[in-house]
Amino acid sequence: MKKYICITVILGLILFTSCTDVVEVDLEEATPRLVFDASIKWENGELANEQIIKVSRTRNFFEEEITWVSGANIEVLDENNNLTTFEEVEPGHYKTENFTASLEQDYQLNIAVEGKTFQANTAFVNTTSIDSISQGNEGGFSGDEKEVVIYFKDEPTEENYYLIRFNTEFLAFPSVELQSDQFNNGNSISISFSDEDLETGDIVEIEFYSISEAYHDFLFKLLLQTGSAGGPFQAQPATVRGNIVNLDDFDDFPFGYFSLSTLEKVNVIVE
C-alpha cells in the first residue's frame, strides 16, 4: 500500500498541458483579386491636402512580399464635380496633394486598372474629438501593465462609430479598436491601450477616427477575420466585401474600402 501511495503522489500532479504551437499548413491559393486601400483622412479639422491610395493584389498567405499594382487611373469626385486625380509615386502608391474635403458631402471614387473599372461611394462623417488622455499602471487583463487611456464625449442625438489605432515602436502592426455608441450613447467613453512591454519613455501614436456606420460594419467583419478573436469559439470566417464595385463584372469584386473619416492624431510619451 505504501508503494501505491508513493506512486500516486508523484502521478497526482495536475499537468494542465493546454498549449499553442506554430504549425505548417499547406494552403491553397485562390484566383488573385485586386485590393484598394482608399482611406481618406481629414486630420484635426485642417485641410488635409495630401492623401495616399494604395493598390495591390492578394497573394499566398505565407508570402511576405506585397504585390503592388501599377498603372491605375484613380480619381475622386465630389458632389459639385470637383475632380481630384491621384498620381503613382511608387509601385502601388497613388498620391495627391490637392485634396479638398468638406463635411456633409458625398464622394465618389473611380479607378481604372488592368482593363477594369471600379467605383465606390461614401459620405463624410461628423466629428468628435478627444477630450483628455490619462495614463496608469493597472492596465490589461492582469492589471499590472502600463496603459494609456483616451476619453471622448459621444454625441447623444445620433448613432456614432469610432475607430482607434494605437501604434508604438515594438508593435509589428497597430492595435485597432472599434467602438460604437450602442451601449454608451451620450456618455464620456474611454478606450485604453496597454501592453506588457510598454515602458516609460515609449511613444504611443494614437489615431482617433469618427467613421460611418457602413465602414464600422465592414471593419467589424474584417477584424473578425484577423484572428484577434481567435480560439475554439471563433465565428465563421467569411469573404468580406467592401464598398468598391466592379462596374463590368459584379462577381469579380475587389477587396478593400473607400472611406472618408475625420482623424485626430496625438502622440503620448509614457510616464
Binding site: 495536475i14 499553442t20 485562390a30 485590393v35 502592426f173 474611454s190 484577434s228 465565428a235
Partner: protein, 801 residues
C-alpha cells in the same frame, strides 16, 4: 286458478328476488375467492428496483415477471402458497403466505457473491434488445459510465455518450454533444423530466450530470417515441437514483481536481428516502497558492426525495443546483448555471393503468461582470412545466401511453447594467420573450405476432409565441436586407417597435409528428428494424460558434424564425451471438431538416436585441452508417463503435438575385465527421485489479483555411472563400486507467478503491482549432494550433459506506 295466481305472486315477489340474491351471492363469493398478491422487488445492495425478476408459485402454473419499477402482481385464488422470487445473480427468496385478501409484499434480493461480471451482463438495461421495436437507442448505467477513463479522473456522462456510434462532440473542453450531425441545441436533455439547457460546466470540461446520482440514461437517436418532443436530433433521458429506504449509506470520491460526496438513507424506513449528492472542484485553490489571482471552479448539488404513501401512490421530488465561477483577476467575473425542481406523483388506478402528474420549475442564468468597465451583463431563461402521462396496458400484446404537456417559457436575452455611477455604459434591457409550448400524444406498443412488434404514435405540438415589449417589424417582413449594390447581407432597419400584451399570441405553430418503429425477429437472436419519425423544434439555440458558449441565446419560434422540422428514416440489423456473449447493432439512417438556419457573414450575436436580422433560412440533411460490436461476457468486455456519416447544410438566397451562403450550394455543417471510431475495453484481471482503455480516432472537424491575404491599413487580412472547405488534422487519442480494490474490503463494512488514469497516453497534440494570424512581434503570418490537453495523469480515491 287462485293457487296459480298465488304461486306466480310468490315467484315474482319472493323467488326471483331470492334467485337474484342467490346469484349475486354466488358471484360475489366467486369474486372474493381470489386476491391480489403484489409488491416491489428490490436489489438489497443498492435498493434499486429490479426489472425482470421471476415470481413463481410452487406446484402451480401461476407466475409473473417484475416490470421496470420492480413491480409484480398476481391474481390468485385464496389459499396457502410458497412463493419463489428469483433473478440471475441473486439468491432466491421464498415466502410462505396464506392469501386471504389483497396482500402487498416487498422483496429484497441479495446478490450472489461470485461472478460479478454476470450481474453486469444480466442488467437488462444495456443488453441489445432483439425483439423490441425500439431502435436507434442506447442505454447506459451509472456503472458503465464510471468505467470509461476520462481526463482528470472524473467519470463523465457526456464523455461516455460520445463513445457510442452516431454521437460525437466538437472537441475536448467543448460543451454539449452532437447526435447524427445535429448541433448541441438540437438534443432534448431531460433529468427526471426537467429540461436542461446547458449541459456543461466550465465550458465543456465536465458535464453537469453527477454519475453517482444517475441511475441510468437512455439516448434516443431515432425512432423517438411520441412521449417525447421538442428537439430535432435526439432525446437524452436521465433518471436519477432514489435513496435507500432501508439504511443509511454514503459514498465519497476524492480526486485531483474535484471531489464528490453522496449520502442517502430512509426518512421513514420502507416508506420514504432521500439522496443528496454534491460535487465541487478545487483546482483553483492550487492557483491561489501560487499567487495567481485567477480562479475557475464549479459546484453542483443533486437531491431526490421519495415517498411511498400507499401501494397506489408515491411521490418523488428531484432537485438540482449548479454554478460555475470563472474569475480572472477580479476583473472578468463569470457566474452561470442551471437549477431545477421536479415533482412527480405516481398514481396506480388499477393493475393496468397508472398515471404520473409532474410539475417542474427550471432556471438558467448567465452573468458576466467586467469591473474595469464597470458593468454587468445578465441573461437567462426559465420555465414552468406541467405534464400528465398515462401508462395503460390493454392486454399482454398492446399497451398505450398517452399524455399531455404544457410549458411556459420566459427568455431574458440580456440586461446590461452599469455597476457604478461613473461607468460609461448605459443601462440597456434587451426585450424579454415569452412562449407557451404544448404537446399531446398517444403511443402504442403493439406485438402483432411473436416476431413482429410495432411501436407507433402521434404527437401534436402546439407552440404559441406570446406578446412582448419591443416587438419589431420590418419592411416586407424581411429582417435581413440584401444590399445588391455591394453584394452583402445586412441587418434591415426596424420599421416599428410595438408592445404586445403577454396574453396575446404573436404567432402560433401547430404540427403533427407521426412516429413509427417496428421490428421483425427471425428468432430470439436476430432481427431487422425499421423506424421513422418527425420531430419539430420550436426553441432554437442561436450560436455561431461550433462549440456552445454561455453567450449562446435560446430563442423561441416566431414570425421571423420558423420551427425546425426533421424527418428521419432508419433501418437496422441486430444480432446476438453465442448466448449474448457478443452483440452486433448496425443501422443506416437518412435525415432531412427543414428550416435549418445559418448566419450571415459577420453576424454579431452578443447583446443583439433582434437576432432575426442575422439569420438566413436553409435546409439540412444527414446520412450515415453506424456499427456497434459489443462483447458482453468474460474477463474482457467492451465495445467498438464506428460511424461513417455526412451532414450538410444548404442556405440559398431568398430570390435568384441573392447568393445565400456558399453560393447556395451544399456545404458541410460544423459537426460533420466522416469517420468516428471508439473502442472501449474493460479487463477484470481478478477481484483486486481491473483495467480500462479507451481509444478514439475521428476525422477532423470542418474549418476554413485562408486562400490568400492582402494588406489593408497596415494589417494583414486573410482571405476566406466558401464555408467549411477544409478540415482540422485527424483526431486520435488513447486513454488508460486501472482500478484497485484492496482485499481488506472483504472484511469490513466500508469499501474503498483507487483509480489511476492516464489521459492521452502518447501525448498527441490534437488541434482544437488552427488560427491564422499575424505574429505580433515579427508581423509575419503564421498558423497557430491550439490543443487543449496533452498527457494528463490522474488519481482518485473512493469510499463507500
Amino acid at each position: 286458478m287462485r293457487s296459480y295466481i298465488f304461486a306466480k305472486k310468490i315467484l315474482t315477489k319472493k323467488l326471483i328476488p331470492f334467485f337474484v340474491f342467490f346469484l349475486c351471492c354466488f358471484f360475489s363469493k366467486a369474486q372474493s375467492q381470489t386476491a391480489n398478491l403484489s409488491g416491489i422487488i428490490f436489489n438489497q445492495e443498492d435498493n434499486q428496483p429490479i426489472l425482470g425478476a421471476n415470481v413463481s408459485i410452487k406446484n402451480t402454473s401461476y407466475g409473473t415477471v417484475s416490470n421496470i419499477d420492480g413491480e409484480y402482481d398476481l391474481k390468485l385464488p385464496l389459499g396457502e402458497y410458497e412463493i419463489y422470487f428469483s433473478y440471475l445473480g441473486f439468491e432466491d427468496e421464498v415466502k410462505k403466505i396464506n392469501l386471504q385478501k389483497d396482500t402487498q409484499i416487498n422483496i429484497y434480493l441479495v446478490p450472489k457473491e461470485e461472478e460479478l461480471e454476470e450481474i453486469l451482463v444480466e442488467e437488462n438495461v444495456e443488453r441489445t434488445e432483439i425483439r423490441s421495436a425500439s431502435m436507434s437507442t442506447n442505454r447506459l448505467t451509472s456503472e458503465t459510465i464510471k468505467q470509461i477513463p476520462v481526463v482528470l479522473g472524473e467519470a463523465d456522462v457526456i464523455r461516455a455518450l460520445i463513445q457510442l456510434p452516431g454521437v460525437s462532440n466538437t472537441g475536448e473542453g467543448s460543451a454539449g454533444f452532437n447526435v447524427r450531425g445535429g448541433s448541441a441545441g438540437q438534443n432534448l436533455i431531460l433529468v427526471d423530466n426537467a429540461t436542461i439547457f446547458n449541459s456543461s460546466h466550465l465550458f465543456g470540461l465536465f458535464s453537469i450530470f453527477n454519475p453517482d446520482a444517475v441511475k441510468e440514461l437512455s439516448l434516443y437517436k431515432g425512432g423517438i417515441p411520441a412521449t417525447y418532443g421538442g428537439r430535432v436530433a435526439s432525446v437524452l433521458d436521465i433518471e436519477q437514483r432514489r435513496g435507500n429506504t432501508q439504511k443509511f449509506k454514503g459514498e465519497a470520491n476524492i480526486g485531483v481536481v474535484s471531489s464528490k460526496l453522496l449520502l442517502e438513507g430512509p426518512i421513514q424506513k420502507d416508506k420514504s428516502s432521500f439522496l443528496v449528492s454534491g460535487r465541487s472542484s478545487y483546482a483553483h485553490l492550487f492557483l491561489q497558492l501560487a499567487d495567481n489571482p485567477n480562479s475557475a471552479y464549479f459546484y453542483d448539488v443533486n437531491a431526490k426525495f421519495n415517498f411511498i404513501i400507499n401501494p397506489e401512490n408515491d411521490i418523488s421530488v428531484s432537485a438540482y443546483y449548479g454554478r460555475d465561477v470563472i474569475d480572472i483577476n477580479d476583473n472578468f467575473i463569470n457566474v452561470f448555471g442551471s437549477s431545477f425542481i421536479s415533482a412527480r406523483w405516481n398514481h396506480k388506478f388499477n393493475n393496468e393503468i397508472s398515471g404520473n402528474l409532474s410539475l417542474i420549475a427550471n432556471d438558467y442564468l448567465y452573468d458576466l461582470e467586467i469591473t474595469s468597465a464597470a458593468f454587468v451583463f445578465e441573461t437567462g431563461l426559465s420555465n414552468i412545466n406541467l405534464k400528465y402521462d398515462v401508462s395503460h396496458r390493454l392486454n399482454t400484446d398492446l399497451s398505450l401511453e398517452y399524455g399531455i404537456e404544457s410549458l411556459l417559457h420566459e427568455f431574458n436575452p440580456g440586461l446590461v447594467r452599469p455597476t457604478d455611477a461613473l461607468s460609461d455604459i448605459n443601462r440597456r434591457k434587451l426585450d424579454d420573450k415569452f412562449a407557451w409550448e404544448n404537446g399531446i400524444y398517444l403511443s402504442a406498443n403493439h406485438n402483432l405476432t411473436k416476431d413482429l412488434q410495432l411501436q407507433y404514435g402521434l404527437r401534436l405540438s402546439s407552440f404559441f409565441r406570446l406578446g412582448q415589449n419591443g416587438f419589431s417589424t420590418y419592411e416586407n417582413d424581411e429582417p435581413v436586407f440584401y444590399n445588391s449594390e455591394i453584394g452583402i447581407y445586412e441587418e434591415a432597419p426596424i420599421l416599428e417597435s410595438t408592445s404586445i400584451s403577454r396574453n396575446e399570441t404573436i404567432k402560433s405553430f401547430h404540427n403533427l409528428e407521426p412516429r413509427l418503429s417496428m421490428s421483425y425477429s427471425f428468432n430470439d437472436n436476430q432481427s431487422v428494424k425499421l423506424g421513422y419519425h418527425r420531430m419539430v423544434q420550436n426553441l432554437h439555440l442561436i450560436s455561431n460558434t461550433s462549440a456552445p458558449t454561455p453567450f449562446d441565446i435560446w430563442a423561441p419560434s416566431g414570425p421571423y424564425l420558423q420551427p425546425q422540422k426533421a424527418d428521419q428514416v432508419a433501418v437496422g440489423y441486430f444480432q446476438n451471438l453465442k448466448k449474448e456473449a457478443y452483440s452486433i447493432e448496425t443501422e443506416v439512417y437518412y435525415k432531412t431538416v427543414q428550416n435549418s438556419f445559418d448566419f450571415i457573414n459577420g453576424a454579431n450575436l452578443i447583446a443583439n436585441n433582434n437576432i432575426e436580422r442575422v439569420l438566413l433560412n436553409g435546409e439540412g440533411r444527414a446520412y450515415g452508417l453506424e456499427i456497434l460490436l459489443k462483447k458482453n461476457k468474460g474477463k474482457l468486455t467492451g465495445w467498438i463503435a464506428y460511424t461513417l456519416s455526412r451532414t450538410e447544410q444548404r442556405t440559398p438566397g431568398r430570390s435568384p438575385d441573392e447568393p445565400g451562403i456558399n453560393n447556395g450550394e451544399w456545404y458541410l455543417n460544423n459537426f460533420d465527421k466522416t469517420h468516428d471510431l471508439s473502442v472501449i475495453a474493460n479487463y477484470q484481471l481478478n477481484k483486486k485489479w481491473s483495467f480500462n482503455a479507451n481509444f478514439v480516432a475521428q476525422t477532423g472537424l470542418p474549418v476554413n483555411f485562408p486562400v490568400g491575404q492582402y494588406q489593408f491599413q497596415d494589417l494583414n487580412i486573410p482571405v476566406f472563400e466558401g464555408r467549411n472547405q477544409n478540415r482540422l488534422p485527424t483526431f486520435h487519442r488513447l486513454d488508460i486507467s486501472a482500478t484497485l480494490i484492496p482485499s481488506k474490503n472483504e472484511s469490513r463494512d466500508w469499501k474503498t478503491s483507487w483509480n489511476f488514469g492516464i489521459y492521452n497516453l502518447y501525448n498527441r497534440m490534437n488541434a482544437a482549432s488552427i488560427n491564422f494570424r499575424q505574429n505580433q512581434e515579427t508581423g509575419a503570418n503564421e498558423a497557430i494550433r491550439l490543443s487543449i490537453f496533452g498527457i494528463v495523469p490522474s488519481v482518485s480515491y473512493n469510499i463507500k459506506f
